[in-house]
Symmetry: C2
Subunit: 185 residues, 2 copies
DNA sequence: GTCTATATACAGATAGAC
DNA sequence: GTCTATCTGTATATAGAC
């Protein structure tokens, strides 16, 4: 992995999470690394290739975080809390989840990138539902784990989407409270 | 209100809900109405003015829908169901909520439009929380109505955001199930 | 292997025609 | 009052220099 390629991807990801993929230009990206925009095309022939790299990176990092939570022997409450913290970190940096942002822009993505994007959400939901199944006795509500996992994921994505509008964390906090209410004390 | 201005706004809103405000150009917009892009500037001197018009229209239509629900004498379940239907209609047309889309693009909006955007979400949340307070006895969970209203709104926005990625309605359906579980039968 | 000069198309915006 | 020719800057992408 080239060092410059790495830097380009980092800056690009940050930019996408702040203002969207369509708003990111090769020129601005190049300026930040001190090269010409045409140089960026060496690493990413088309913009869609950059999108692919960003999605793959983000999903890999996300997966690593889930694995880390899995590796620790925690209660359901603590594990869900750790999961919520992933989103908390994002909103604290005044960003959106990269995949949440790309979801808004999905109509401009090619098929391959849509599949990648879709895999992010299904992976997240699958992880949550498996967690709920493993800790079923700690649940305070009678609901299909797959249904609950979808609402948790939607709730978190929606929360940081709206919270960013007035630079707060009210919705994420509300989401945390609701989730805790659904768990046994 | 000019007829052409009206048409421009309708087409623009549709385009924004599909692919975002930044992805909308005066040129494409003009083509669809059969004029030159420069003509669009007669109605909207700057693109930010167009954003303002779209936000105002959307909020007005949304408010009208809430008033309509208020005017009917329904149970909490039915009222919330009618509220969810607003989002269902949007996702069925393969669109996003205009304000949800603009929320993703908030970093590119000017202050005035951010305030407008913010007012949409606070209005929605206020309406839900007031509804919950009015029908407190029908609630099946002990939670602050303002907190629950925020999670409902986040959940719905997030649901259609994610559902659009694989052109389904799974998350919105899940959201409906969860909300119903939180209400007394 | 890495980078740039350059091409071509398109963005928003203005000055002014009708 | 409504619309367009045109300006200036920026977009992605290519061909080719080092």
């Amino acid at each position: 992995m080239s060092e410059k390629r790495n830097k380009l991807e980092q800056i690009a990801a940050d930019s996408v999470q702040r203002s969207g993929f369509h708003n990111l230009s090769f020129r601005t990206l190049a300026n930040e690394v001190g090269v010409k925009s045409s140089s960026v095309h060496y690493y990413f022939p088309e913009k869609a290739h950059l999108a692919t790299a960003l999605l793959e990176n983000y999903i890999a990092a996300f997966t690593a975080q889930l694995d880390d939570i899995d590796s620790r022997n925690l209660s359901l409450t603590k594990k869900l809390d750790a999961f919520i913290k992933i989103f908390e970190k994002v909103i604290k940096e005044d960003k959106l989840c990269l995949c949440g942002m790309m979801a808004a822009e999905v109509s401009t993505l090619n098929k391959q990138n849509r599949i990648l994007l879709s895999s992010y959400f299904s992976r997240a939901e699958k992880w949550i539902s498996q967690l709920l199944i493993n800790h079923e006795v700690e649940l305070n509500i009678d609901i299909d784990p797959q249904v609950l996992s979808k609402t948790i994921m939607s709730g978190l994505e929606g929360a940081i989407l709206i919270d960013r509008v007035d630079r707060g964390m009210e919705r994420l906090k509300a989401q945390r409270i609701l989730i805790n209410k659904l768990l046994k004390k």
